[in-house]
Symmetry: C2
Subunit: 260 residues, 2 copies
């Protein structure tokens, strides 16, 4: 069976899939999930507009609808993601398998582009994606770079990291620039301290990966940023995906190419 | 004196400049203006997110503030544009020289990218931009292509048109793809009837231009789209720029390159 966005969503809905989605359904666009009440939706939409590198918008649902009609008609955001987070006043109070017990009719859902899109392009170009090689979740770190605030929302940018040789990092930068809606090119490479990251072996989300001799860490803006923003902002309610456990859309990576 | 975004804004503020801005301050990003009351701001922001080709967002102001701090600190959207439109219930009721008599403390202002950004790149590549050559405003047309609705907002996409030979159109498509926040590559070329345009000599906005033998019309999504949306949607109040009379930012065209 050819794996598609739809087949992965079905595996999540049936409970068969509860792990990270990196490497699944190659060529299909994966997405970060954020749901907030309507009264916070303008501020969050503006936050995404002002921070397009970590929060590139793919879709915003109608109020109360769990179906992102523009990118995955017939899907259900409450069941089709393999893992969720429930945030109350900045604390993650639950990590449920579905959102049925947490859904409200005033929720607006946001789907943000994900680095797994450009990873497919990197792998096709023969570039290393270490966490895929090692069967782990991608390492993610909170940084000292503040996002541009919008309304009640503020907080630090989160980055994902992939180790590469310097020449591979240059090639990856060119390739990723084709996908501005999947975080685009790296925001930093080399010294982690420049981003306020103390220890690459202790990521704030996901798993550490091996950095080989001659490699440097390469950092991309990450769609887990809204979860760090929830911790900083303490909104009464935010629902999210579990880091690395993404929503699969029906969009093809090529649909995003060059698209702003 | 070198012309910059700032010097053009000053010419508008002083009343010296009241004409179209195409070709002014080459290399500085120009922007379409839309102001709506806060109660409509979420719907309009969502409309832009769902229609990034005609409405690529560069900046959204704080409620009531006429200063787009992210792209032109110290500027004033009420005075720094060479011409305005005031829309009440879908009718353009005034075309004032400033917005002072129409400003309200509940207005949110949106700046959208403009094709004048890619025109600079086209001219540098030796490609024709006929309306600049002929000293006219760019021709713009309402189409039969509906925008994706958001809340109260719906309506047809507006396009701008530049005549070129087919091989020039191909080169222009590649160049414009570098600027997704300035409408990106064309949405159509050739037969105007495919967009529901009956007569290229009678644009809905701006001026007609000469189409030479061997040339075809090439069409780009246009930031005047919100004005057609105002006519279709009839919101109580929308303030805009006058078509072709843009707000000059401090951003450089290169700042937008590849940026989604």
């Amino acid at each position: 069976m050819t794996e598609t966005g739809l087949t992965v969503r079905r595996l999540a809905r049936s409970g068969t899939l509860r792990g990270p989605t990196s490497g699944l359904a190659p060529g299909y666009v994966q997405a970060n999930l954020v749901c907030v009440p309507r009264e916070l939706a303008y501020d969050f939409l503006l936050f995404c507009q002002r921070n397009p590198r970590p929060c590139p918008l793919l879709e915003v649902t109608e109020v109360g609808s769990p179906e992102p009609v523009g990118v995955a008609a017939g899907s259900d955001l409450r069941t089709d993601v393999p893992g969720y987070g429930v945030w109350h006043h900045g604390e993650r109070v639950a990590a449920p398998e579905t959102l049925h017990d947490h859904w409200r009719d005033d929720l607006v859902s946001f789907l943000l582009g994900c680095s797994f899109t450009f990873e497919t392009a990197l792998i096709r170009a023969g570039l290393p994606v270490r966490h895929v090689e090692e069967g782990r979740n991608v390492p993610m770190y909170r940084t000292n770079r503040p996002c541009r605030p919008a309304g009640v929302f503020h907080g630090p940018m989160v980055v994902s990291m992939r180790p590469m040789s310097p020449d591979q990092a240059v090639r990856a930068s060119v390739i990723c620039a084709r996908y501005p809606r999947a975080h685009g090119s790296p925001i930093h490479l080399g010294d982690p301290a420049a981003l306020g990251i103390r220890d690459l072996d202790r990521p704030d989300y996901g798993d550490a990966v091996t950095i080989r001799p001659g490699e440097i860490p390469v950092f991309w803006a990450c769609g887990v940023t809204p979860q760090a923003v929830a911790q900083a902002t303490r909104p009464a309610l935010m629902l999210t995906h579990k880091p690395g456990h993404m929503f699969l859309t029906d969009l093809l990576d090529s649909d995003l190419e060059g698209l702003g």
